[in-house]
Symmetry: D2
Subunit: 320 residues, 4 copies
């Protein structure tokens, strides 16, 4: 009897999810599996919203943002009844393995489903790079570059007007996007949840740089800190420098994935199928020092991740 | 004695202003004029912040967003004393003609300066396309495409989540950007100041489309209407469809100008120099049916512009 | 009985064709027509490769390059037998009207099909803007901007090395792309089929500019002229300036359409349906001074179009 | 007495070189060094074409492609006389340390200069990622994404016409760009110098995929293999599938650097200054497993790098 792999995407979508779906699908079929696409994450699984995929069903999606399988947050799946219903859907479709693409919330769902006896393999897909067990998450590089391009554009007008821009980037729980794009766009300062900040120090830094000829300024704020408009108002009032806030918002979630996101997605997708084929149970695929590894789901969820304090200090030293 | 042309950019910056500066500078020099770049608009003119430009000073700026001459809003220039000080700056530098790149506010400044005896030629540069006398303003096409690309990205995540996106685009006094990008991105509805709107009608339209299988929605709101977050909340509460607001903001003001903006800037800049060379006084250059024309400043400021109601109706008919 | 509109795309594809397909489909359905998508142009029509489209079939294609209906060149359709077979396909499917999106070759096909008794409406879609009866063709603006972005990138490396770049852009029969992107990117010279050129004059111009401090150069060559490598070699040998050729090629044919291409496509598509609905027979839709008009097919094919000599002279005057 | 750091860029330019120049300059000044920008690589050094840089001289270059210090290949520097002249220039300007940004050729120059008694630190900057001692070179990620975006565009037209595209990407000595963008764009096959290839096998693979419904094909060829047109002709003749070649060329060398290239450039630039400050002599900075390390120049030049055969096999397994 042919063994079967289900695939779903859950939680926030991220560019590169389609490339991962393609990789799992084709690697799975190449190894002799039936592959079932499950729509709208765990909610779609409960409802049996799924279809068998062949190699052509995943043609020409590698360059598309979003997820062809759609995504959703499911309250029903948070209950035991929901999890049992999901298990029944798997049984009905003959699905023994589910590849779950998403973030920590997706992995907690995978853990719940695994307790019902379905083998679950997690793949890291989220733009925030806020999954503890992995150096890298699919979608992160695309989001960095989308934010970068937008900030480069804001700088054009900021320079023309000798202004300060306060730009809020995504990252509810983590400042990775903020500190990287801040460093990459020559920001004056980055404000993240991971490091204490003091608006008066930022104002003093701006005024000190202005005294040496700097005419325009850029402050990057992580979503987790928020309050960009208030920060802009404070800066303007305390420096006298015309200051405007922009919240980049959902733009950062879409777009064609970058080369890195597509290549990592291809690698991770194949790795996930190899794990299944080797008999591994309930693992999370992760990137460590450019190599792929895997962890038990419980173990992965218990890990913690350090903020890249070194990059933040690098930004401090280059912002003159 | 060599005759002299000053150039300044004033008000909000717009992509393509640099291309216009290059065009005026080179066309002016080619016709035997000295060309003086005036920094920071009328404020810089008052302060005498200016420098003579040669053909190489405007090399490699045609592709740059923003304005190499910087821009500012000047309260001082709104006074007679300020205008007289500006006139003295012109006299000191031997400037008989000033090309003023910007919008209606810039033209009102040009009118004031002309009353002091300086010949002023206005060039339309603003992303909003809200200048009455001209079909087209430099920067408009770039802003349209910047907004378009961002909305395309938002659609990726909106589709993945089966959401409604409320996207606020620039245009404080005019809905031109809103209706064009709305039509171009397949928006469900566009909300502008020019046409009355009713949120309940929009909700009803969305529910009716949902009933025929539409899964995601996009509402474009012009800056002049504002309140995007409130609109998003209202829609979500009255349709039950998950709805998120994004304000595209200052990103729309920057970036490398599009081909159209650069070509129009080149054409208009040369035309302005030809006007000066032909002895014309105090004119605004405008685009009418793809041809360049010019109007007296007072006449230009008195004109009114129609909203493109036809495009809005076209959007209505295609949003099914 | 419901009347029926078929749609096909033929000849070279162009960005914005999908937006036009969407517009024709939705406007047609809104007016009570059945709309049939015909795949692979006239060849697909002969083979009966078609399907009825509903409003959702054209969802989320407005931003896609290429054509969802595919395109092909058909030798069979050039014969009377082929044209009769196409007519039989129309009869079998109940198609009385066909909207044909493409260039002059497509219109000649439309003329042939109309002689078999099928009402044909032509829509201008080609990146080269080389259709005589219209100021504008769908896809042209996107191709201009794609070429522009690529040339901007080439300039980065050309400037770093103090080189001359010879860049060949599309336009087999027309230099419109060449002269516009040349003007927009600050090219030293543009070489088109429409205007005689002399490589020695170009070399002399480069050396003269080099003497006044210009360090890098860019020559745009239209595809119709070709021989970019030979031109680069000639320039290098006769100026001593390191010169490299790049042929931009098929990249210029793809990509998400610009705002202008999508808006024009929406407008033209609706106009085509209105023509059909008003009883018009065998017309070509065209853009004249930003307004939509239509011509008899025979009349349209007999027209000739002027090269924009004015833009070329403008480039001459700004290239200093 | 203040110690001094010279900076030069040499060989082919790469996006991110400006970000590295900024990083070296600001980190150097912050540590109390005078920093001298040397124009046009070793040739400019011989000629004494240099200037002292302050922190503002490197403002707003982080996002620019190319190199603000220009680059050149110097025959004169390949002679002992040239190297001695370069040493004299260093002595005249008080330069004890030179940071040399480029590839292997740049490092050989650095080795020659070090033999004259100037401390040289090499930084990897080349789009090809073909430097043996480092996992990563500045400019590589930008080139990958530039090629990717162009190939995505080619795919739009290739799909519309059911064609095969042969696309030649940069990489004279290495297939890294080819295999990564091939994997990322869903190529049918990648042809590199590192792995033997057989055109008949490629044709057979295409025909086999066509039999299972694949309609369009993409073959990526590394510059080192070349002959793209001949390969296209061969494929068309042996498969009957319409095939077109495109050589992406110099476009891949320019453009605003990606986030990764800017962040890596910032990190490496600071690391180079720290090396100098710690008294290290004649080292090459390299990236190994995301960490920065350094090697003696001679040692670095003797290293060899493996082709990523694993990625190539991954592409094989996903191209179905």
């Amino acid at each position: 009897m042919t063994k079967t792999i289900g695939i779903l995407t859950s939680g926030g979508d991220a560019p590169g999810m389609n490339a991962a779906i393609r990789s799992v699908t084709r690697a799975g079929i190449a190894k002799g599996y039936r592959v079932i696409g499950i729509r709208r994450g765990y909610q779609g699984l409960i409802e049996g919203d799924m279809f068998e995929m062949n190699v052509r069903d995943v043609s020409d999606i590698v360059q598309r943002g979003g997820t062809m399988l759609f995504t959703a947050r499911s309250k029903e799946f948070m209950t035991l009844e929901g999890q049992q219903a999901a298990k029944r859907s798997c049984d009905n479709a003959g699905i023994e393995n589910v590849v779950c693409i998403g973030g920590d919330g997706t992995y907690r769902g995978a853990l719940d489903l695994s307790k019902q006896g379905v083998n679950c393999i997690g793949i890291p897909g989220t733009i925030d790079n806020d999954i503890s067990c992995t150096d890298y998450t699919i979608g992160y590089d695309t989001a960095l570059n989308t934010a970068l391009v937008m900030i480069d554009r804001i700088k054009d007008t900021e320079m023309s007007h000798s202004r300060c821009s306060v730009v809020e980037v995504m990252g509810r729980r983590a400042g990775h996007i903020a500190v990287n794009v801040g460093l990459a766009t020559g920001a004056t300062e980055v404000v993240t949840v991971e490091r204490p900040y003091n608006l008066d120090d930022i104002c003093a830094k701006m005024l000190s740089q202005k005294a040496t000829g700097k005419t325009h300024f850029e402050i990057i704020v992580a979503e987790g800190v928020g309050h960009s408009s208030e920060i802009a108002t404070y800066i303007q009032e305390h420096t006298g420098i015309d200051t405007r806030a922009t919240v980049l918002g959902y733009v950062q979630r879409g777009g064609a994935p970058t080369c890195l996101d597509r290549v990592i997605a291809a690698r991770i997708g194949c790795y996930a199928v190899e794990l299944i084929d080797s008999g591994a149970k309930n693992r999370i695929v992760a990137v460590k020092n450019n190599k792929l590894v895997d962890y038990d789901i419980v173990e992965a969820l218990a890990m913690t991740k350090n903020y890249d304090e070194h990059l933040h200090r690098l930004l401090d030293s280059l912002s003159l």
